[in-house]
């Protein structure tokens, strides 16, 4: 193997799939071979039958729907507020000086620790779930967007000024379009984190969602169901990641040209 040498598309897919195969094989050996007691870890087959039962008999699909709606809802809310703020902070240094210290501090406040408080404030309804995701995402997005916008190539900004752009126009016509792909990339990354927050929010005081199913299954010692739930989250993450990449490639063809 040569460092940095690319692989062919076919081999790339085969290699990617083969790790999943290896993973399930290892899991199978550990469980079917009796190396791990069933009570701690269900085998792959049990997981699949449990999962099927969940989907067909226990309405797990609606749980999945509820969780996706919470993640997307909280995340969109966070993005709507954080992206403009981040752009402002990156573009205007006084705004950055004003907000950056607080946002940096707030970024380290663990969203999960807010769950009890948010239950107190917003009850057990949807608002509380959305708020957990919102708090977990908003400060991260603000800071990352501000850094990206603040690092815009100076010579491009200068070129715009010599072409007659005013200050507002530099933000609108240079800073935003130049950094749009990076911002989309940040959103993709943070959406992944938002999935962690939603499960935490659903583990406590929830009557629906993937997290709720997982905590219910724990009481029943149904490890097959728990693992199925975790795998579903992984698959949704994979799909949303792929969709995000697809949309980005469509929106920003100049990057790939």
């Amino acid at each position: 193997m040569r460092p940095l040498e690319p692989v062919s598309p076919g081999r790339k897919i085969a290699l990617g799939i083969s790790f999943f195969v290896l993973f399930f094989a290892g899991w199978g050996v550990a469980t079917f071979g009796g190396f791990v007691p069933k009570i701690f870890l269900a085998d792959p087959l049990t997981m699949i039958t449990d999962g099927w039962k969940l989907l067909t008999q226990f309405g797990f699909l609606s749980d999945i729907g509820v969780t996706i709606w919470r993640v997307v809802g909280g995340f969109v809310l966070a993005a709507l507020i954080a992206v403009p703020l981040g752009v402002l902070m990156g573009a205007y240094k006084p705004v950055e000086a004003f907000l950056e210290p607080f946002v940096s501090f707030a970024r380290y406040l663990p969203a999960s620790a807010f769950v009890p408080l948010l239950i107190l404030w917003a009850g057990l309804g949807e608002a509380q779930k959305l708020l957990v995701i919102f708090i977990g995402s908003v400060f991260q997005i603000i800071l990352m967007v501000a850094v990206v916008v603040g690092n815009t190539r100076r010579d491009l900004v200068e070129a715009a000024y010599t072409l007659g752009s005013g200050d507002g126009s530099v933000v609108r016509r240079v800073l935003i379009p130049m950094n749009a792909p990076e911002i989309a990339e940040i959103l993709r990354l943070v959406l992944g984190w938002a999935w962690t927050y939603v499960i935490v929010a659903e583990l406590i005081g929830s009557s629906s969602g993937i997290g709720h199913m997982i905590i219910d299954s724990q009481a029943l010692m149904a490890t097959g169901q728990i693992i199925f739930g975790i795998i579903v989250i992984g698959v949704i993450g994979l799909v949303s990641d792929y969709l995000f990449k697809l949309i980005n490639a469509r929106l920003f063809p100049w990057r790939l040209a």
Binding site: L156, L163, R173
Partner: protein, 260 residues
Amino acid sequence: MSKLIVENLTRVFPGVKGRAPVTALQPTTLTIGDNDFVTILGPSGCGKSTLLRMIAGLDRPTAGTIRLDGRIITGPGPDRGMVFQSYTLFPWLTVEQNIAFGLSEKGMPESQQKEIVAAYVDKVGLRGFEHHWPKQLSGGMQQRTAIARALANDPAILLLDEPFGALDNQTRALMQELLLGIWEREKKTVLFVTHDIEEAIFIASRCLVMSARPGRIKADVPIDLPHPRHYTLKTSPEFSDFKARLTEEIRAEAVLAATH
């Protein structure tokens, strides 16, 4: 008629971490005539780019004034088009959209923009590449687009900061001819910074030689070679005379710059 008047322009960069301030440009006075093609020749770090950036309004002078058509310059504006050494095309815009950037900034109707853009696409020989992204262009093509972008705005003066510095020799020679051809046909006031002696002579009607840092203008050489100029001019005896003279002027400065 003088187009650009620079009076006692000075730039001192404040010292960092207790070090002494650095004088990039000693008080400099110069005038550029209407439709002149002036090159500023100097060793690297002599303050020639600083001088150009101040004229563009991208850097603030410590003292002195700059007047363009009688108006004092306080910041950047579309009356001073600039071409940079680095590739500064907007990567998210096509060649066509890049050239139209300044026009749409002026609020010009789209049909009129299209007309001007098409004319400049032809002038810089980019027909067929209008819809390419900058990433798909060679360095020379990118700089041609950058020249078209600056010229499409119809600036009172065109400023170029070593625009061909990153190009290979052959491409550079072609770019010089292209720029010179445009100037010979359309007459523009041009201020062109370079460290390449041949370039400074070939394209210019006047060459200003700058000293090593702290920069000042140490020689003002009119290049009275006939127009239109052909690349064979570069091997003529007259050209060689200019080259010998400017080499002498600049060598002393280069030695100074290298030992400092």
